[in-house]
């Protein structure tokens, strides 16, 4: 029976976030948010554009700042635009 098992293909997952939406609702700038959570504005830009996934610590700091739970701030979905 060895070698019969074929592992299912692992889907490419993408983390999407609602930071841009929440920031617009509260009318705060990227710089203000960056200062509040202790990062640079570039990092907020990169997170909003989906180019950088924050660490768990930063994700918690963001969710605490927006007074929401981490699941409503960050969601995971299948990446349909596969590069490979």
């Amino acid at each position: 029976m060895r070698g019969d098992y074929v592992s299912p293909p692992i889907p490419n997952l993408k983390i999407v976030n609602r930071i841009h939406v929440l920031r617009a609702e509260r009318r705060i700038t990227q710089q203000q948010l960056a200062d509040a959570v202790g990062v640079t504005r570039g990092t907020i830009v990169a997170i909003e554009k989906g180019n950088y996934n924050p660490s768990l610590e930063l994700a918690f700091r963001l969710s605490r700042y927006f007074n929401t739970d981490i699941h409503s701030l960050f969601t995971i979905e299948e990446d349909t635009n596969e590069k490979n």
């Binding site: 570039g42 990092t43 554009k49 924050p54």
Partner: protein
Amino acid sequence: MKKINRFLPKYLLYSSPAVAIIFVWGFLQEQADAMGTNSAFVKILREALSLHLVFWFMVLIYVLILLLVSSGFRDTFLSKLARIRERDERERSIIGQSSRFAFFSTLALLVVLFFFLTVHITFVRLPAEKAVNGKRNAVTIGLQFGLRDTPAPVKEQGSGEIVFSTQPFPVSKQVMVLALILWHMGTFYYLSRKIQSGE
């Protein structure tokens, strides 16, 4: 002591143009001295500036030693020199990726350099009378590895004209080390800028 150590690189940098001027001026005054046209004031001034020059070089040597032995000084000094900014986790991540890229590309370059320093390849164009089966082009491959830098004697290449040879290595040690520094910093910059521009 930390304050002094922080001040020293600035002193070296900002006084370097003055040091260069003192060098040139000192050289010109030395010629004037030989002709005996210098006044006593100029001689005293030259002595004073020479002392400053000695002090500047002593500081330079101290800073270079500090670079090797003090990790804190090395971190702050080289971070400023290479313009590395680690203000948050994303910048640290970029620096990590760029360092990896710079490390591997420099290692590859070092391996290539080591090959060309160890293996000597010489292309020779033999004279018509020494041609083998009508072929005049020849390649010789040699190997040299030594703990001390004594150049291997150049062998007679069948009295042929050397078209190209990797021995002696075409660049000096100073150029090689400078090229390695620039390559290492350049590859680091290249990737960190590339990552940041992609965001």
